[in-house]
């Protein structure tokens, strides 16, 4: 009983003591699971983490990192510039067009991002604790991210509602927060004016590459103005792709103004006003130099990139695309195989176009001693972008050849890569097909005869699933600025300036005979971007803004003649990826050809579909759900 009493007393005392706390103390407990807005915006490091999240969620049509829905490699795999060597992705070459909602950013995702940037900007400017310098830089970075996001939206949708402050759900009338689409030109104007407004608050520092810098803002402005200019000019060729309210399409009269803005922005970067940038040119082999530009994070060429870091975020681009025979990770390799359609487009070193010579004038095969002889004398970017048969990766040769060709012209091969069999008339088994293929339908090995080299990381272990690669994805680089300047100069009637800009990019690739003003044509501009910026996420938006997409991807099958003729001509159709398969000659009776190589243009058997780009694909569909939620949104044309 005494014991019980004393326990009761202790309990009573404890309760009594805690009861003595003031109500305000008792109720105002700081939460331990999250930080309040005031706390976050009182410490520059915490504010930066909010910004880092916004950086991380930028949209891109292509990217090196994986999401479960869209692995990085696959974002590069369309448009017949490459063949997807993975069974689950064969649909890319088997479909006969794209749905209208292709390339759309999910509408709620997009406006959630916009809202969060707007909130960030409002909270940053309301903060009293942050140092002025931090506050200003954060504010400029937020505006950069928002402008960039609107740029991504306008590329896909045309005009979208331009929301520049956070909205609150009204208690009564929902229509007060339903906004109609702005004009397409309004969004481009917004991107351009934001870049101009914030550039002074961003560091003019070439070492700042994964955060917004002054040059990144100006490079964005340059590209946006160029896009707007070309939509204004070439949109006139497709009057069906426009809306009367200007939500889609820009008046032709505005093109000169936009091109001028693009040229001025490019000139600002070229002049070094925004920091010292230049072409990556470290001598040595020109192809290796070009490939290294994408690996060297300190390169003077890259202006703004998405960075990756061991221990932080890495990506599996190398894991997915490394050569099968030299893979770090058995069973993961070879998915992205560049097509012959693209390979044929690389110029000879004398600035002429010539198809890859596989047969002579009488249609007989040409015999080559070495596998790479067929590619000699071409633009160094060919071997810099694409891993050719016998090409080196980590110091070792890839093993790409499709089999033996016998004296009667028949093919002796196997459907199993690297298989050994006895050749006719012999008994000793020898390897009859490359370990890297090509074999039709055999995934993870090349099926086009080529592997991708751009962005492939030679660092040890970068191809392992668990480790991943830290190669950065470059969003803006100096060479593109030069090509922007070339295009804008050309469109403004100064082909001589255009030649000067373009020659710099070409000289770095070994094309040392300069082009003169008379050589600069629209075809040249289109071609140079396709080559220099291959696999960097430009082709779709370039073809869209020039209104060439419906011509290039015209929905008719591509023949071997199609890919070997009209080289370097803008708008030549390319709807199915072809490959170039090497065969070794087995003909002991003829020492002149025995052991030599011949090449056959081959369309991978899985490539049964064809690209068909409809007028309705120029601007991605705004979903019916979005329109149901906001009836002020008008539909895209031709859908």
């Amino acid at each position: 009983m005494r014991k019980l009493l004393s326990i009761a007393t202790i309990v009573a005392v404890v309760l009594g003591l805690s009861g003595c706390k003031k109500d305000s103390d008792f109720l105002n407990v700081q939460p331990t699971t999250f930080l309040t807005t005031d706390q976050v915006f009182s410490d520059p490091n915490l504010a930066l983490t909010v910004l880092a999240d916004l950086y991380n969620r930028q949209e891109d049509i292509t990217g090196l990192d994986n999401t479960s829905a869209d692995p990085g490699w696959r974002t590069f795999a369309d448009f017949s510039e490459s063949f997807p060597s993975e069974n689950g992705s064969s649909y890319i070459v088997q479909r006969t067009g794209w749905p209208y909602n292709q390339w759309a950013i999910d509408w709620p995702t997009a406006y959630t991002y916009i809202r969060e940037v707007n909130l960030f900007l409002e909270r940053d400017s309301a903060s009293t604790q942050l140092a002025d310098a931090d506050k200003k830089r954060f504010y400029a970075e937020g505006r950069f991210l928002r402008a960039m996001y609107y740029f991504e939206l306008v590329k896909r949708y045309g005009g979208v509602p331009l929301i520049t402050h956070s909205l609150t759900l009204p208690s009564k009338d929902i229509t007060t927060i339903q906004f109609p689409r702005a004009k397409e030109s309004d969004i481009y104007d917004f991107v351009i004016s934001e870049a101009e407004a914030i550039k002074a608050d961003l560091p003019a520092d070439p070492a700042t590459k994964s955060r917004a810098s002054r040059a990144a803002a100006v490079a964005m402005e340059c590209r946006a103005a160029l896009y707007a200019g070309s939509i204004a000019k070439y949109g006139a060729t497709t009057p069906a792709v426009s809306l009367p309210g200007g939500e889609v399409g820009i008046a032709a009269s505005k093109s000169t103004d936009y091109y001028t803005k693009a040229l001025n922005a490019a000139k600002e970067i070229i002049a070094g006003t925004d920091g010292t940038y230049g072409l990556y040119n470290n001598g040595g082999n020109l192809s290796d130099n070009y490939a290294n530009l994408f690996l060297d994070k300190a390169s003077i060429e890259s202006i703004y990139y998405e960075d990756f870091k061991t221990g932080g975020k890495t990506h599996s681009f190398t894991t997915n695309d490394q050569p099968y025979s030299l893979s770090d990770e058995g069973g993961d390799a070879g998915r992205l195989d560049p097509s012959l359609n693209l390979v044929e487009q690389y110029e000879m070193l004398d600035n002429t176009f010539a198809p890859i010579a596989t047969v002579d004038g009488t249609n007989k095969p040409i015999y080559y001693t070495n596998l790479q002889d067929v590619f000699t004398g071409r633009d160094a970017r060919l071997a810099g972008t694409i891993l050719l048969p016998d090409g080196l990766y980590k110091g070792k040769k890839v093993d790409i050849w499709a089999g033996y060709v016998l004296s009667d012209g028949s093919i002796f091969t196997s459907d199993e890569a690297g298989h050994t069999k006895a050749l006719p008339g012999t008994t000793t088994p020898v390897q009859v097909v490359g370990i890297d293929g090509p074999v039709n339908g055999l995934e993870l090995r090349t099926q086009s005869g080529f592997y991708i080299r751009k962005y492939i990381d030679p660092a040890v272990g970068s191809g392992r699933r668990g480790q991943g690669s830290t190669v950065a994805f470059i969003r803006y680089r100096y060479a593109e600025v030069l090509l922007n300047a070339a295009e804008a100069s050309f469109e403004l009637g100064h082909p001589d300036d255009a030649a000067t800009y373009m020659n710099q990019v070409r000289a770095r690739a070994g094309l040392t005979t300069p082009l003169v003003a008379a050589d600069i044509t629209f075809d040249r501009i289109v071609h140079e971007r396709r080559i220099e910026l291959a696999f960097e996420g430009h082709i779709l938006f370039d073809m869209k803004r020039w209104r060439l997409a419906h011509k290039v991807w015209d929905g008719t099958p591509t023949s071997v003649t199609d890919i070997k003729t009209n080289l370097g001509v803008a708008g030549t159709h390319s709807t199915q990826p072809w490959g170039l398969w090497p065969y070794k000659v087995y003909n002991p009776a003829d020492p002149a050809t025995n052991g030599k190589w011949i090449f056959k243009e081959t369309k991978p058997a899985l490539a049964t579909g064809y690209n068909k780009f409809l007028f309705g694909n120029y601007y991605s569909q705004i979903s019916n759900d979005a329109i149901a939620a906001n009836p002020k949104l008008i539909r895209q044309p031709n859908q």
Partner: protein, 233 residues
């Protein structure tokens, strides 16, 4: 025991009632029809000319899932009885769909009750007339005449005429084993157009091909075709 029997009875009743009251019957009324110009069917490329069916009164705006005409210009949809509105979006098809004064596609209203056939009258820019396709010596030859239907301010030019052959019944720019294009510049007489194309080897061998003549109109992406013909040899 008695209680649980009651409960069981109530459950059975609830379950049975739920089956009837909660669910709509499955759509069972068939809506079919063709694209027509007067009495002639408009032939198009399969799955390329969409039409949109709207039904109002269910909260959401927007068409039922995207649907498209077959290559012979026919369409069919299985729907529940009710009132529907049907359009072809602007810029689709090798024809002009009736428009409202504001430039939007005018709707065709269908009050569906049981199976029903509704044809859509449209005005094509051109019609391919008198198409004749023959074969001799492994070459398919075709002749036809182009009739320009729309001649007012909306008129459009011919871009090219194409002859397509395929080993199955789908014949178009995308589905063909051989084709011959005749650009507008090479057309001297719209009333007398002739084209020919060699039949490539077909594996497995077959002794017939299907052929159609297509007309590409400048500024439009959908082609108009002549009726499908089976050519035996």
């Amino acid at each position: 025991m008695k209680h649980s029997l009651y409960i069981l009875g109530a459950l059975v009743f609830a379950a049975a009632a739920g089956c009837k009251k909660d669910n709509y019957t499955a759509p069972s009324s068939m809506l079919t029809g063709h694209l027509l110009y007067k009495t002639d069917t408009i032939q198009v490329e399969r799955s390329q000319v969409p039409y949109q069916i709207y039904q109002y009164g269910f909260g959401k705006v927007g068409p039922l899932p995207q649907t498209a005409f077959a290559q012979d210009g026919s369409y069919s949809a299985v729907l529940s009885d009710g009132t529907y509105k049907i359009i072809v979006p602007n810029g689709q098809g090798p024809f002009m769909w009736k428009q409202t004064a504001a430039g939007n596609p005018d709707t065709v209203t269908v009050a569906l009750k049981g199976n029903q056939t509704v044809d859509f009258q449209v005005t094509p820019y051109y019609m391919i007339r008198n198409a004749s396709i023959t074969i001799s010596g492994g070459t398919v030859s075709a002749t036809c005449k182009l009739e320009k239907i729309i001649t007012d301010a909306n008129a459009k030019d011919v871009e090219r005429v194409s002859l397509y052959i395929n080993k199955d019944q789908f014949v178009s720019g995308g589905d063909n084993i051989a084709k011959k294009d005749l650009a507008a510049a090479d057309i001297t007489d719209m009333n007398n157009i002739s084209l020919s194309v060699a039949v490539p080897s077909i594996t497995p061998a077959q002794n017939y091909v299907y052929a159609r003549i297509g007309l590409k109109i400048a500024g439009l992406e959908d082609m108009i075709f002549s009726p499908l013909q089976k050519i035996s040899f």
